[in-house]
Amino acid sequence: MKCIIPIIAVGIVLALTGCWTITVKHQVEPIYITMNVNVKVEKQLNDFFDFEDQGQGGSGSTKSIPHDKTPKQ
């Protein structure tokens, strides 16, 4: 009789663990898609606004600072 209770307990634990499911795949997929879209948008914006880098340094409001300040002779 004493052996029946642990056997039933082990049986319940095994039955419960058998019902567990792992849903990792569903959480990873949307992150991957969002990152893909962001990279695509970033590239399109950079390609479109390439004139900002050609004309002036930075966003246009930024001015390039001369590194060499030694006076010319």
Partner: protein, 136 residues
């Protein structure tokens, strides 16, 4: 039967022509926007440098102070700039299969990364701050 085939071929040709015109006009629009924005770029940069206009988190330019907002020249420039940005964001959103808001936010991020420390940015709370004060 022969007439029907000719009609179907004609319809196909017309539809193809429409598709080609639609695609080419969409491309023209993007190029047109680029040209207009390129023309305005120097003025926009100057206003940003003087602290009269700044960037919002949604990717649009806005007057920082009430005085700047009341300036007719600035408001006309901002309207034109933001109209073009709206069109551009819509085109990129369609091409990238994302939302216009997402593209706008992406551009706001790009502006922030490229801006100088004195440039103004609007916070989510609607407050204007210089980039140097927003950096951690």
């Amino acid at each position: 039967m022969k007439k029907l085939t000719i009609k179907i071929c004609a319809l196909f040709c017309v539809l193809t022509l429409f598709a080609v015109v639609a695609i080419s006009s969409a491309q023209d629009t993007k190029d047109d926007i680029k040209l207009r924005m390129k023309d305005r770029f120097a003025q926009i940069s100057e206003l940003k440098q003087s602290g009269k206009i700044g960037e919002t988190p949604s990717g649009f330019a806005e007057a920082v102070s009430k005085e700047s907002a009341q300036d007719e020249k600035i408001s006309t420039l901002l309207t034109a700039e933001n109209n073009d940005r709206k069109l551009l964001y819509a085109i990129i959103a369609t091409e990238s299969q994302t939302s216009v808001q997402e593209v706008g936010m992406g551009n706001a991020k790009r502006y922030f990364q490229k801006a100088s420390a004195s440039d103004y940015f609007k916070t989510q709370a609607g407050e204007w701050k210089q980039k140097k004060d927003m950096m951690p």
